[in-house]
Amino acid sequence: MRRALIATMGTAAGLVALLGYKSSGPATAHRVVLGPVGTTSPVPAQGGQAGPATSGSAPTAKAGPAPTRSAPAASAPAAAGTSAPTTTPARRSFVGQLVQYFYGDIQVEVTMQGSRIVSITVPQNGAADARSQMINSYAVPILEQEALAAQGLNFNAVTGATFTSDAFAQSLQSALQAAGK
């Protein structure tokens, strides 16, 4: 009985020490890791539509094959609207590259108004399995909000969704590059 107690306490103490030491590693909050987006980074096509990247690569997530479907055309409601003041720049959408990572694939779309990001959405959010789907359904809305609030890439990864966060950031980066931001 005493031996069992010692084993239990010892194991628990060892685990706490191990995890504590690990979690207090160099970076307390994981910043999303970004690699070079690739030589053929997306260029805004006519109408403000981002062209898909062809060979993006990053150390943590591999860029997938170029998405074949055409990105949604810019939703520019202000273009012809008379109600919109003429000083307001038009809204333009940019679609980032489709990033494939271990647990799925993800593609980010940003809508810009001038140099401001007004919306970030994820038109493509595939998950490899049920757990990844559950994690993404929880993590992606947070990522969208955080990136919008940060107006760019300067946001933290979502705990427990490191891979998704990295892939999200990579796709976002390519979209922002396309937007010239």
């Binding site: 069992a4 685990l15 191990l18 979690s23 271990f102 757990r131 994690i135 427990g160 490191t162």
Partner: protein
């Protein structure tokens, strides 16, 4: 060996450490999940060690001895299964916290919809069943063959739980090198197990053709079995060693039991002497001459190679006399070098007495019989009494064999008599 096992565990933890970023352990859910991962990795590693301990690898036997291996096997098994239960609970709890779900709902999701998880869950259930049935409290009430067959479930459990590690384990899914090393660990242990527990005994049977020559009653409840075969000298068995004996009778062929050689191997026959302790030992009396036998072994380091001094004291109890009887016959000694102390609860419980007296006369050895129930003679194994029976005890090698409680009591007395530990050699026969 304990160091080697610990080193392996450290390597497993290092693998997790290397694959995990500090960001992966932020927040309660991530902590629980990470703890679940570590316990899962180490627990699985220890279950594989558990199989290795029972693979009857000759060098492990020489290094540690089967009796101590069995004790390790029991303790390590309890610990490994506890870790794996913790693994399952921590992972589910951690996932539930991360996904903001209830624990029960999350458990259902994990078990039913993640790849290979249903099989792994069944595997864990089997392991827990084996653990519970082997727990000391229950072990005595479970019939040997139930316990034995349930132990085979461990192999099923290992097979069932293997796939989920590679399908869902972060350390394996994304790391081919880890996958390779982990698979290699399983493969090596499986090869040792099959080689030493299946192939080697079958090869030995084909070569030596062991067969029962005779069974001889030695007294109330005690029986000797003589086994002959071809080329027995090439077995290289030694006095003090034991074999796992598998008698190929219609109802007993599936079980192998450890029995010491009760006579020094002589090239013509091997002999075991057993007391009716369990169902199996009792049925030995009915084994017919001509029955084929599969022998695993020889095992055990309780031999003349342990000897460091010229003079030897042997202390035995009950049926634990058998390896000492062999040693008494085979140890090189001059007159007066050998002394035997034999503890038994009554004169009728002394096995092989005629042989022991004969040997004592031939080799001019001293024999002391300590007879009577324990409550009447609590002083029998005391340091003072042992020193009176054998005054130069500290200058002798002491071979001790008997039930665990007995070997413990004698070892304690020897320690008090300042017999150096390297001169004390014990074997306890509770495998």
């Amino acid at each position: 060996m304990a160091c080697l096992v610990a080193l392996g565990a450290a390597a497993v933890v290092y693998m997790w450490w290397h694959d995990t970023a500090p960001a992966d352990v932020q927040g309660a859910g991530a902590w629980l999940t990470a703890a679940g991962r570590v316990t899962g990795l180490v627990g699985t590693y220890l279950v594989v060690v558990e199989v290795l301990l029972m693979a009857r690898v000759p060098w492990l036997d020489r290094l540690i001895g089967m009796d101590r291996l069995a004790v390790w096997h029991r303790r390590n098994g309890e610990y490994a299964i506890s870790l794996l239960v913790a693994h399952a609970l921590l992972i589910i709890w951690g996932y539930a916290v991360t996904a903001h779900q209830g624990v029960v709902g999350e458990a259902k999701t994990v078990v039913l919809s993640y790849p290979d998880m249903l099989a792994a869950t069944v595997g864990l259930g089997l392991l827990v069943l084996v653990g519970v049935l082997s727990a000391r409290a229950l072990r005595r009430r479970v019939a040997y063959h139930t316990w034995y067959f349930v132990h085979l479930y461990v192999y099923i459990a290992l097979a069932l739980s293997f796939a989920h590690q590679f399908a869902t384990g972060v350390d394996f899914a994304t790391h081919p090198l880890n996958r390779l090393l982990w698979g290699l660990m399983y493969a090596v242990v499986a090869a040792l197990l099959i080689g030493y527990r299946v192939a080697a005994p079958l090869a030995k049977m084909a070569r030596h053709r062991f067969v029962v020559a005779a069974t001889v009653p030695e007294g109330p409840g005690v029986v000797s079995v003589y086994v002959t075969g071809r080329d027995l000298g090439r077995l290289r068995a030694e006095a003090g060693q034991f074999f796992m004996w598998r008698f190929l009778t219609p109802d007993g062929w599936w079980q192998a039991h450890p029995f010491s050689l009760s006579a020094a191997p002589n090239g013509n026959w091997l002999r075991l002497t057993a007391k009716a302790l369990g169902d199996h030992s009792a049925s030995l009396a009915h084994v017919r001459p001509g029955t084929k036998v599969i022998l695993e072994g020889p095992y055990g380091a309780f031999t003349r190679h342990r000897r460091r001094k010229r003079k030897v004291l042997m202390v035995g109890a009950g049926i634990g006399i058998t390896p000492l009887r062999s040693l008494m016959e085979a140890l090189p000694a001059r007159p007066g070098d050998l002394t035997l102390i034999y503890r038994a609860s009554g004169a009728s419980q002394v096995a092989l007495r005629a042989e022991l007296d004969q040997l004592a006369a031939r080799r001019q050895a001293q024999v002391h019989y300590l007879l009577g129930p324990r409550w009447q003679h609590p002083e029998y194994l005391s340091p003072g009494h042992l020193a009176r029976l054998c005054p130069d005890i500290a200058k002798r090698d002491v071979f001790v064999c008997g039930p665990a409680g007995f070997t413990q009591a004698v070892s304690e007395s020897l320690r008090r008599l300042k017999v150096p530990a390297r001169q004390v050699h014990t074997e306890s026969f509770e495998l």
